[in-house]
């Protein structure tokens, strides 16, 4: 789509709704109505049938024009993942109902996949949904749910046919997080903070019109969600020397150390981090040049290892002071923040190799999907879900 047309549409939007005199919610609403929210969506659903890269340009122009794009963070799971799911699987009625308030952040979204018994093996999930008239009755427990405590809508995958093989018997719904029977509790972590929630469903009634795609198509919809998640996470590319390696270097300098052994460890990690950073940049360049390659697949794994090693070294650099925990432990909800101070960062990053796909799963994916190595013998694949051993 032509630069001009995009330029014009954005100028129009900015002229009609001057950011400085317009509330964010109002502005985002107008942006949606103009089809500048998800440019690649069809007209009427926040888009104009343009390309994803067009949206990048639009956002840039909006930022230049003084408008806020913060909604993409405030409602990350909705705008980055939920919208993709609706675009690919929802009816027009459903899109009309949900997309606009999602984009305006009037309605926050969360994702309800993982369960205590279904971590790496998400498709093993046990939360049941049973049809009752034109409603479904949901019972079960979800975990690791960010934003659940402020969310209006939840994307939930449920087990609707326990006698079908695990990947077939699932159905996907949008559940009202304010409905009765939904119980959201903070899930406190190693740091004492609760970034996540566990969500309990007790006879929660979900209207059939909130079902996404067909009964039994839940796994397909879930994969769309996860695909969009991978895009969302990506390789957070700090500038050189940014992130936790930068913090480690700062600590090294501030504490005026000169131990050559620690210096080599620091430089070793600096080199590994820079290699991972350059790899992310190279991967983005190759992707935009349309040259497929494996560069893009290693980031999550690399940064999980690196963050853990770097923050551990940073605590070591503090020496005796590394045995202290300045902030203290108090069970609390964290406010959104950047880098943690070293000892908290050391604890928090232990989860990097678990959250969003364990490193073991990432290694399987690299081995099987990228290198084409054969999978392991599966004992659960064709069994009815109800008969899969769960210990």
């Amino acid at each position: 789509m032509s630069e001009d047309r995009i330029q014009n549409l954005v100028s129009e939007l900015l002229a009609e709704h001057p950011p400085e005199t317009t509330s964010n919610v109002e502005f985002w609403g107008a942006q949606y109505d103009k089809g500048l929210a998800w440019a690649w969506h069809p007209e009427g659903f926040g888009g104009l049938g343009m390309s994803r890269s067009d949206q990048t340009r639009i956002d840039q122009l909006l930022v230049d024009g003084g408008a806020s794009t913060e909604n993409r963070y405030l409602n990350l799971l909705g705008i980055a993942m939920g919208a993709g799911v609706l675009d690919a699987h929802a009816t027009d009625e459903q899109k009309r109902r949900w997309l606009r308030p999602m984009f305006t952040t009037e309605e926050i979204w969360c994702q309800l996949f993982s369960e205590p018994g279904a971590g790496s093996d998400v498709a093993g999930l046990a939360t049941r949904a049973v049809k009752d008239g034109d409603e479904w009755v949901v019972n079960g427990q979800k975990v690791w749910t960010t934003l659940a405590h402020i969310a209006k809508w939840g994307m939930i995958v449920t087990r609707t046919d326990p006698d079908a093989p695990k990947h077939q018997g699932m159905t996907y719904f949008i559940v009202d997080m304010e409905a009765s029977g939904v119980d959201v509790r903070p899930l406190y972590q190693i740091t004492g903070e609760a970034e996540f929630n566990e969500v309990f469903f007790n006879d929660v009634r979900v209207p059939d019109e909130n079902r996404i795609d067909a009964v039994g198509a839940g796994w397909r919809v879930a994969l769309t969600t996860l695909m969009n998640e991978r895009v969302a996470i990506g390789g957070g590319s700090n500038p050189r020397g940014g992130g936790y390696i930068g913090q480690a270097v700062d600590v090294w300098k501030e504490t005026g150390q000169d131990d050559p052994v620690l210096r080599d460890e620091l430089l070793h990690l600096w080199a590994e981090a820079e290699a991972a950073r350059l790899t992310a940049i190279r991967a983005n360049q190759m992707a935009s040049a349309g040259i497929p390659g494996p560069e893009g697949s290693t980031g999550k794994l690399a940064w999980a290892n690196l963050n853990k090693e770097i923050t551990a070294l940073t605590v070591d650099l503090l020496g005796l002071d590394g045995t202290l925990y300045p902030e203290g432990y108090e069970l609390s909800r964290p406010e959104r923040s950047g880098l943690h101070e070293p000892s908290k960062a050391f604890l928090r990053t232990r989860a990097n190799s678990i959250e969003g796909g364990t490193s073991e799963i990432m290694l399987n994916i690299l081995g099987e999907r990228v290198l084409g190595l054969p999978g392991e013998p599966r004992v659960d694949k064709d069994l009815p879900w109800a008969e899969v051993p769960r210990g």
Binding site: D316, G319, L320, G322
Partner: protein, 376 residues
Amino acid sequence: MVDVQVSYAPTDEEELIRDTARQFLQDRIGLERVRELMMSDDGFEPGLWKEMADLGWLGLAIAEEHGGSGLGPVELGVLLEEMGRLLTPGPFFASAVLATMAIQQIADPESQKRLLPSLAAGETIASLAVYEKPRGWEVLPAATTAETAGDGWRLNGRKRAVLDGHVADLLLVVADTGDGVGVFGVDASADGVAVSQETTLDSTRRQATVSFSGVELNKDDRLDTGDVPTALTRILRMASAALAAEQVGGAQACMDMAVDYAKSRYQFGRPIGSYQAIKHRCANMLMKVEHAKSTAYHALRVMDDSDELAIAAPLAASVCSEAYVWVAGESIQVHGGIGFTWEHDAHLYLKRAKASSLLLGSPWHQRDLMGLALGI
């Protein structure tokens, strides 16, 4: 290089101590209770302390003439290993190990007779105040000074990382007398002593920063006799060996936890322990734990051979510190999401492991000491 031969097979008495300790700790101060103390202000339970005294634990390594059981470092190690296994909180290591060793190694007979019985009886909680710098573990020269005042002393300075200093009655303070370094027994409640508890990475072992401003001491509050620097080196070696035993217990607990979980947790229709990624990690845990045990058991058995201890103590400290930190971290990974939650115990061990590895000298610092002893 000489090859020091010792026997590692546990005696019946050691086994008895182990069984009793494990039973008592499990019943009396299991992880549920540890969590309560962990969140409490001082992380200390006087009742438990009294019971430990009655069990003879506080005087385990104190001579009978001073009211102790007259047992040795090996038995002490067994006790510490079991405490490490359950993260037993409180000043046991600070008072019954570190401070007790210090008095035994450094104090004149009179002072020992005066102090050790009340430590053994649990009436006095003591702690060694030796560190001053935020990093690096060199304890000398001391910036803290003790100047003569009348026929006594006046103490000025500031010590950090005083283990469980917030509940200590007696502080053993290393200070520069202008005429060499001395060790002084300071009443924690004396005028001019300010004790402030720090928030620690490991809430089951607290620390305090203690400052001394013009603290008046009597003549006989100076405890040291003989060569203090040499004695301090020796005390810290002995303490490192003792801490290594505690670390072994913790590492073992993390491995057991991970292995049990790997057997009972199913994903994709199989116990996760049947996947090589998990199985091999657990096997490596086993190797590291066994290696750690070997170094700790060896160090505890050569405490009286100062040449060998100069090698064995830092060896045990570096090997056990790294093993514990690694096993505790990998145990969280084996547990996956649940291992990262506050409600699960895995993180308690990681915090103890990491903090312990920096308490008496980091692994690389200990290796440096070992190298000096080895002539490398």
